[in-house]
């Protein structure tokens, strides 16, 4: 009998073009997503060397980081942002790469667009010059972020030079309590294993609580796997996956679809396959989570208080906590539920999908954003926006006092005009609470979409479960 293999090994083995004597592998890449920030130097490199894009039809490009989320009819005001987007357009034209322009309804955050179009498929190898490419692992695809030199390498050769990763299993057993969602699972994971806990690993998520998640929830979990340092996150495809993909514009059709599904059904870890590390989490023990510091591992249940540097045994971590608390303007011992906020951001490749907006709107309905709080909702794509508007979510948000914006990365990283002012404190559904991430001096608390609404309507970090009562 063949040696039992993990899902990761199955996908890896199916994409090996060449293995050198020292174990260095040449891996075939099935899908390549491209955005404006990490691609210009790669296309320039191709031009200088006189190289072509080997398989332009396997590439999909879209501008997301620099695009304004306000009226776009006059284009992009910031000249540097405009040049970067125009450079992407020109490169796609010159190299024959499919591109969704800013005024196309399919435009949006690259990690929302790929799945939505059925460009993302189970069993595929998917890369993008963006660390949150791990998102696509929700489909049972091996998906990871790469640098610009590697973007150029994939454009030119449709392959990547790689070494195998170690395999980690994270099993989330049982059912999630009310008010606890996918974001809380992944924040708890990052808190448990740390931001470097997954370094060198590909993480497979399994267990009842993961199986019960929608594709949107699974994408949220895999999206933030990179925040635990892992190269990629993976969830074996199942009926939920196939139902999501069926009929998507770029998903296979007819007999090819049938053949694909029967192959995809083999994409699961074999009984007895070896994992280098295993983590088990009891879903029933989870509560809504919120970050307090400047690393995603600085996370606690909303019921907790701001920690003290003295709580940490490791000297390096202690000095990091001191630095974090100083930056965040927080005093040890303060209950997290008493921390007042100025801004709320709902969106990003982590939580900008239709299900996120539905959950947020359901809680926002009939409530009002607290006085003095600025709250915005940025749909992840034009299609998410259209869907949300068809369902009446726009009215609910506007009625509650949220702004309703055009799709893009927006205040997740503040490359466009959406950003925090120094000292402003934000409850954000994005993925990183690094110093300056949402604007110089801005203070980020990462939460799930319902927790963001709870913060918006109370004006402080709040326990969503109290609003659900």
């Amino acid at each position: 009998m063949a040696k039992p293999r993990t899902l990761f090994e199955k996908i890896w083995d199916a994409h090996l073009v060449d293995v050198q004597e020292d174990g260095t592998c040449l891996l075939y890449i099935d899908r390549h997503l491209v955005h404006e920030v990490t691609s210009p130097q790669a296309f320039e490199g191709l031009k200088v060397a006189g190289r072509k894009v080997r398989r332009p039809e396997l590439v999909l490009a879209v501008a997301d980081h620099n695009v304004p989320t306000t009226d776009r009819s006059k284009g992009i005001a910031d000249p540097e942002s405009r040049i970067q987007v125009e450079t992407l357009e020109a490169n796609c034209r010159d190299f024959g790469v499919p591109y969704f322009p800013m005024d196309d309804i399919r435009q949006g955050v690259v990690h929302i667009v790929g799945p939505e179009q059925g460009f993302t498929l189970p069993g595929a190898t998917i890369v993008c010059g963006d660390s949150h490419t791990s998102t696509h692992g929700a489909f049972g695809a091996l998906a990871f972020g790469i640098g610009t030199s590697e973007v150029e390498h994939v454009l030119a050769t449709q392959t990547l030079v790689q070494k195998p990763a170690k395999a980690m299993l994270i099993r989330v057993d049982g059912a999630l309590p009310a008010g606890v969602g996918a974001k809380d699972i992944v924040l708890a994971v990052v808190g448990r294993i740390g931001t470097a806990g997954g370094t060198g690993f590909v993480v497979e998520f399994a267990g009842e609580a993961i199986r019960a998640l929608s594709m949107e929830g699974r994408m949220t979990v895999c999206n933030m796997t990179i925040e635990a340092g892992a190269r990629a996150g993976l969830i074996a495809p199942d009926e939920t996956t196939f139902a999501y993909l069926a009929g998507r514009p770029q998903a296979p059709k007819g007999a090819t679809w049938e053949a694909a599904v029967s192959y995809w059904k083999t994409l699961k870890t074999d009984e007895g396959a070896h994992f280098d590390a295993e983590v088990v989490i009891d879903a029933a023990s989870l509560v809504p989570m919120v970050t307090w510091g400047t690393s995603p591992e600085d996370v606690l249940p909303i019921t907790a208080s701001v920690p003290s540097p003295a709580d940490f045994a490791d000297e390096n971590k202690r000095s990091a906590v001191e630095r974090s608390l100083d930056y965040m303007g927080l005093t040890p011992g303060t209950p997290l539920r008493e921390v007042k906020i100025d801004r709320v951001f709902i969106g990003s490749c982590t939580n900008g999908r239709i299900e996120d907006l539905r959950a947020a709107a359901a809680l926002a309905k009939g409530r009002k954003v607290a006085a003095g709080v600025g709250a915005m909702v940025v749909p992840g794509s034009g299609l998410v926006k259209e869907q949300a508007e068809a369902e009446g979510l726009r009215e609910i948000f506007l009625e509650a006092g949220f702004e309703w914006r055009e799709p893009g990365c927006s205040m997740c990283l503040a490359m466009n005009a959406d950003r925090l002012e120094p000292g402003e404190r934000c409850a954000s559904t994005s993925n990183r609470n690094f110093e300056g991430r949402q604007g110089r001096g801005g203070r980020t608390h990462l939460v799930g979409p319902e927790m963001a609404v709870a913060a918006a309507v109370t004006g402080r970090l709040a326990d969503v479960r109290e609003l659900l009562k």
Binding site: V17, D18, D22, T24, L26, Y28, D30, V37, T38, P40, Q41, E44, A49, E57, L58, H65, N66, E80, Q84, T87, L121, G129, D130, S131, I146, G147, T148, S149, E150, H153, A156, T157, Q158, T159, V161, K163, T195, A196, T199, G200, G229, P252, W257, A260, N316, K317, S319, A320, R323, L413, A414, M415, P422, R432, F434, E435, G436, R437, R440, G441
Partner: protein
Amino acid sequence: MDKFTVLTGVAAPLAIVNIDTDMLIPKQFLKTIKRTGLGKNLFDEMRYTQDGKEVADFVLNQPAWRQAKILVAGKNFGCGSSREHAPWALLDFGIRCVIAPSFADIFYNNCFKNGILPIALPQDQVDLLMDDARKGANAQMTIDLAAQTIKRPDGGTIAFDVDPFRKHCLLEGLDDIGLTLRKAAAIDGFEARLRQSMPWVG
């Protein structure tokens, strides 16, 4: 890519864990369409005040380390965004070697593509080098990639590990794409098989 053989220079101490790529080069500098010119904005928010003045006590603003060629830092260096602007900014500043207890994967990869050598060492050895680095301009280190050694200012040496293939590429300054294109026949063959076995991939 420039070869990396032997590097002698001053090392800047930056004893912070989880230095992320947003710290290395904040987003407002990612709007460039070039690889060069980012050195002046390396560690921008730690290095300059809001109105653009140098923060006097930041290590790279101090006379001893303005010409640093090596950086010694805390664990999980380079975590976060995949932006290759981070190694581009280091390189443009003049830093060709980063020593830390551990690195984030994508950043680690990106270094090798740009002629930068990331060296991971146990914490106690990094602590020794951090102390050396704090001595400033009179305490030069020498990194010898071929020998895989770091020569400390007191003459002692510390050995380090590096992947043999990456070492070879760095020593020779090899272009990855050129190497892969030599395997074009294998890629063609793989694609032909893939079209048969998984036609939905395309």
